[in-house]
């Protein structure tokens, strides 16, 4: 069965791009534009992996991670962000991987593979 990924990305076009690329790579992708919608989805169904941006309108990615961990501790999380400098921020340690956005999605895909196959 296809692995289920929840993608949180507030940039509409970028969200669309990731969704298409990850589907192409064989995953079942649910894409949402903000953290609040992400939480609602998580409460309703189970995902194998969550990919989230950090800076988003309303609730940010770090808040989302904190809340997700309270709900489902075992789901792996990848932070996918435009900011290189947050990488060493302890707030992001709770995630399983930190990827800086790049038009080549090789690194992101490799991390996904590493975490959920």
């Amino acid at each position: 069965m296809r692995k289920k990924i929840l993608l949180v990305e507030d940039e509409k076009n970028l969200c669309l791009l990731y969704k298409e690329e990850l589907k192409e790579a064989g995953y079942n992708v649910t894409a949402v534009l903000d953290a609040e919608s992400a939480l609602q989805r998580i409460k309703k169904q189970t995902f194998d992996l969550i990919i989230t941006d950090i800076r988003m309108p309303g609730k940010n990615g770090i808040d989302l991670i904190t809340q997700v961990m309270a709900l489902r501790k075992d789901v792996p999380i990848i932070i996918n962000t435009a900011y290189q400098s947050y990488k060493h921020d302890f707030m992001t340690w709770a995630a399983d991987a930190y990827v800086v956005k790049s038009s080549s999605m090789a690194e992101l895909k490799a991390k996904i593979k590493e975490l959920i196959g």
């Binding site: 669309l16 690329e21 800076r55 435009a82 900011y83 290189q84 038009s103």
Partner: protein
């Protein structure tokens, strides 16, 4: 009974001691925004001005890296020159300020042969067995050299340059650093250097060292601020551009796939076009912020200005229950500023106010006379107010509470107001709203002519 005294002595009388004269001159330089070299010139002038007061000539070396480099050499080049200079200086009405001004212009002139002789020389501060003059700086000691032609510790080329039988080297020091060295002699009058002269020179050396030290610190601070601002800006631009670049790159990659359906090809090209427009917008705003230059200030009709601003935001207001109320008080018709930038600045503020109020509320855009020469324009909203976490830094670049905000709006407004010679104030209460007040110069009210 009280008596009032002047801080600075402009002219000295016979009883004014040599020491008091010197320190009075040096103290004067604290009162003026001189550059480092000018301040050092004042100290060296104080030590050399006039016969019988201090020394005949003074050399300044400044440390740069691990070298002492010749900076300037003050004093007459020959006995004849000395006689004529000292004659001029004894003219009534010629004070120290004139001497300093003379020395300053002389140092940059062709006639300054002494400075030319030391300008290109430098001495290493790292040598195992340093010779004079480096020795004084390295050992951090004042060194008096007598019978210098027979002193093997004096570097031979330096001996030829200075050509004086007797001279004293004063190192300029900060805590751990060697900052330079002053070398003084009496080559013209051939008067022996007395202990009292050396004591005086050593205190001047301490002041000069302090000057250099603080000026270096200041320069480092400016550099640090500049590079911090640069770093912040680089990071900000990187982040702002990364999202659209990744989007463009990703959709372009898809286009390279020959199997991509025609409809998707078209869509991708459209997305790429839009993202590039977004990048252009980012660069435009950045450029606009970096290039605020108010060329000329003209009277701006306030009513017309308000009309332009409300028109500019009308489409944004149309989809919400937000009203903009404008009000120009009687007795104010124009303010002074750059119409383009002032209009853009106000539009920024009104734009922010609309965003702050989300769905409904009233924005008041008003102008009135504050004092006879100043007008104040206020932009008041009923939004949630500025969060206390950013309150102190709203005018700093790259601070934004908006998701897509670049944090350039308010810094831009402030730059415009500053450039127009005005000032900006903000009053904000969480839950109640925010008021920005912009003060501009206004033409004084025309007085009624008595009939």
């Amino acid at each position: 009974m009280i008596e009032r005294y002047q801080f600075l002595l402009r002219e000295f009388h016979k009883e004014t001691s040599k020491e008091l004269q010197i320190f009075s001159i040096i103290a004067q330089s604290f009162f003026q925004p001189f550059s480092l070299i000018d301040n050092l010139l004042v100290i060296l002038t104080a030590l050399t001005a006039g016969p019988g007061v201090g020394f005949n000539r003074a050399m300044l070396f400044l440390a740069s890296g691990d070298k002492l480099r010749g900076e300037f050499w003050l004093g007459p080049g020959s006995a004849e020159e000395a006689a004529s200079i000292w004659r001029v200086l004894s003219t009534p009405g010629i004070g120290y300020l004139e001497i300093i001004a003379h020395n300053k212009s002389f140092l940059t002139s062709d006639a300054d042969n002494l400075t030319k002789r030391i300008k290109r020389i430098s001495y290493s501060l790292n040598e195992a067995n340093p010779q004079i003059p480096a020795l004084a700086a390295v050992s951090r000691e004042i060194i008096l050299v007598r019978d210098s032609w027979h002193e093997s510790l004096v570097e031979p080329h330096f001996m030829e340059t200075i050509g004086a039988d007797e001279f004293v080297c004063i190192p300029l020091l900060a805590e751990q650093e060697v900052l330079g060295e002053i070398i003084l002699d009496n080559a013209i009058t051939r008067l022996p250097i007395k202990d009292r002269d050396i004591e005086l020179a050593s205190i001047c050396g301490l002041i000069a060292g302090n000057y250099i030290y603080t000026s270096n610190l200041q320069r480092r601070l400016v550099d640090m601020k500049r590079s911090a601002a640069m770093g912040e800006m680089a990071m900000f631009v990187t982040h702002q551009l990364r999202n659209p670049i990744v989007t463009v790159g990703g959709f372009a990659d898809q286009l390279l796939d020959p199997k991509l359906p025609e409809a998707k090809k078209k869509r991708n090209i459209q997305i790429i076009r839009n993202e590039i427009r977004e990048m252009e917008r980012i660069l435009l705003r950045l450029g606009q912020f970096l290039r605020v230059q108010v060329k000329e200030q003209v009277p701006i009709d306030v009513k017309a200005l308000f009309r332009l601003v409300t028109e500019a935001v009308s489409s944004k207001v149309a989809d919400r229950a937000v009203t903009i109320k404008t009000e120009v008080a009687d007795g104010l018709s124009t303010i002074s500023g750059d119409p383009l930038h002032v209009g853009e600045a106000l539009r920024n503020l009104v734009d922010n106010a609309i965003d702050a109020m989300d769905s409904k509320g009233e924005i008041r855009l008003s102008a009135r006379r504050d004092t006879e020469d100043w007008a104040v324009i206020s932009v008041q909203d009923e939004g949630p107010g500025i969060p206390s976490s950013v309150k102190g830094k709203i005018f700093e670049a790259f601070v934004s509470t908006k998701q897509q905000g670049m944090g350039l709006g308010l810094p831009y407004v402030k730059r415009v107001v500053d450039a127009c010679g005005g000032r900006i104030e903000v009053e904000s209460e969480e839950g109640k709203g925010t008021t920005f007040r912009l003060y501009f110069k206004a033409k004084p009210r025309e007085r009624e002519i008595a009939k």
